[in-house]
């Protein structure tokens, strides 16, 4: 589904990604971990098409299409979704109106008829239930005055509504209490299928207890320095990142 080859990118003058290689297939869940400033969120931003990131080298293939060549809205229409680390508050745009516009723009792109009010309402009710999202929040202005946890849950609700092929959750677990974390995780688990894939960006192993990944990658200094299965996450939790950094530096010296 997603093939990242030798991706280099910078923000302003600072190079952040220095050769990322990653393949994500349908049905898989990948976790990306790593110390602060290693480039995890930057990877998510580059994939979603944030403007201030400049790709220097490499390519990203998304279901046979050149992802980097597309506008942010076309990436979303092709089935890419990023749950924001810091969702934006937009007073005056109602949550529901926003979602309806988004869903119908995606449907138009796929040459599907727009949903009428009734169909949309039914879908929205169904998904609210699935991800346990408060109906009161649905009619409020987009994220305005939402608590940190409510914002993150709104991201998962949007994910459920838009049914993307590939979802990137950028530190969705940060700032969540245990109950909210469980709700978010159970939402994601319900949405997992053999046809879609997830990339979880996280600092903590805790999230991975709830959403069990197929693969775990460690990002350090703009590169993936180690990949493994869920056991790697446990090892990291125990030992921290320093042992990996040392091995990585030794390797670099040898090279």
């Amino acid at each position: 589904m997603l093939k990242i080859k030798n991706l280099h990118a910078r923000v302003e003058e600072k190079q952040i990604l220095k050769g990322i290689n990653l393949v994500v297939n349908a049905g898989e869940v990948h976790a990306i971990m790593g110390p602060n400033g290693s480039g995890k969120s930057s990877l998510a931003s580059v994939l979603a098409g944030r403007e201030n990131y400049e790709v220097l080298e490499g390519e990203v293939d998304f279901d046979g299409k050149d992802l980097l060549d597309m506008s942010p809205e076309d990436r979303a229409r092709e089935g890419l979704f990023m749950a924001f680390q810091y969702p934006i508050e937009i007073p005056g745009v109602s949550n529901i109106n926003f979602l309806r516009t988004a869903l119908n723009e995606i449907r138009t792109y796929k040459k599907l008829p727009a949903l009428d009010a009734k169909q949309f309402l039914r879908l929205s009710k169904e998904k609210q239930k699935l991800v346990e999202f408060d109906a009161k929040l649905v009619n409020r202005s987009l994220n305005e005055g939402f608590s940190g946890g409510e914002k993150k849950r709104n991201e998962i609700f949007q994910l459920a509504m838009l049914e993307p092929k590939l979802s990137i959750l950028d530190e969705t677990d940060s700032g969540l209490d245990i109950d909210a974390l469980r709700i978010v995780a159970s939402g994601v688990n319900k949405l997992r299928s053999k046809d879609n894939a997830f990339i979880l960006i996280t600092h903590y192993q805790r999230l991975l207890e709830y959403i069990v990944p197929d693969f775990v990658h460690v990002l350090y200094n703009g590169r993936i320095i180690k990949s493994g299965t869920k056991e790697l996450a446990l090892e990291l939790e125990e030992k921290g990142y320093d042992w990996l950094k040392e091995t990585f530096q030794e390797q670099t010296v040898q090279l």
Binding site: M82, I90, V93, N97, F98, L162
Partner: protein, 438 residues
Amino acid sequence: MTKQITIPLYEDLLNGFNNTSIHGENETIQEARRNGFESFKRLGFPTRKNEDWKYTGITPFLQEQYHINGIAKEAEISAALINQASIPSLDSYRLVLLNGQLQTPIDTLPDFIRVKSIREAKENVDLVKYFGKNTDVNSFHFAALNTALFSNGLFLEIDAKAILDKPLHIVHAFTATGNLFIQPRHLIVVHSNASLSVIETVVSENPLSKIFVNSLTEVVVEENACFDHYVMQIAQIGTRLVHQTDVSQKRHSVYSNYTFSMPKADLIRNNLHVSLDDDQTETHLYGLYLGEGQQLIDNHSFINHKRPNCNSNEIYKGVLLDKAVGVFNGKVFVQPDAQKTNAFQQNNNLLLSNKATINTKPQLEIFADDVKCSHGATVGQLSKDAMFYLRSRGIGEEAARALLVNAFAFDVTEKIKIPALEQHVNHLIAQHIPVNKN
């Protein structure tokens, strides 16, 4: 007057007055006309040296050879012109004025509401009582000129304790084959305990001929009365609007004005004056201006707190595209007697182009010591983060921009009490935003 030497129109208007027969009009109106004329002769047209016109140079709009006939020549009214004013799914009564002249037949209205052309109503007690009473012809150039030379207009009154069940939609249509300088004059009286909702829509056609409209509306809101006053300005290129509204509020009355200035007209200058003449009144002024092309939209408001315990609330929002220029001047005057005044004012602007300009000036003058007043003005651009957030959900750039502009206007549009009108305004906003490519 030497300062008017560059404007031949000034001479034409002076001659125009001398040639206009005011014979047969009510003595009060004749008197008002003479005062207005003397004052205009002295004031002339404003220049940028007048503080109130510092950012709005009016001279370029006065250069054309205008027809200044007291009463506009017969003009044909077209369905297309009227259609511009239509508001989908609005249930209302409707009146149409063409070049300031009330068109017949008039919709059947309930008995408690009276509509006449202002010339026809000349002996009406309330017309005589209120005409010109709340308009300061000594300081306002265009008000003086309008008072001296107004052609015709509408006299509207609603009886005490009456409530009109649905809004009254007044369409002010302007059309001309040559250049026309036209001066309608209206008076609306809402008697005590009455409740009225009026939507005035200004439309025009034929961008080839220049139409200069200098209109003046006097409004009287009597004790305990409530008046929702909506003004939609959707005139075409070639049209210049100078519009003054002089409102007088009596005890316990509520006046809400909603002014929407939409793209195209060359110039829109609104003078909105509200005089709080008695205790415990409530005033809401909401405005939204959307400028594009080379448009100049200027809103000057003046709320005069004369008596204690009055509340006023003003929110104006501006969106400027292309090379449009906006001006906002919100003056709040709190007189020594007006203790316990609450006055709130806010003006926010969104500049969607590097070449758009806004001049904004909140102006509080407070002479009482026990009052609560606040004001604020902002100028900004669309948030890049918000744009990216919307686009990352599959919403195209243009639709995202329209959503954000509608959201910006929301503080004002949500105050509209007529759902069909709210929808229409949001639609007009969305319609005008995507065409801009910065």
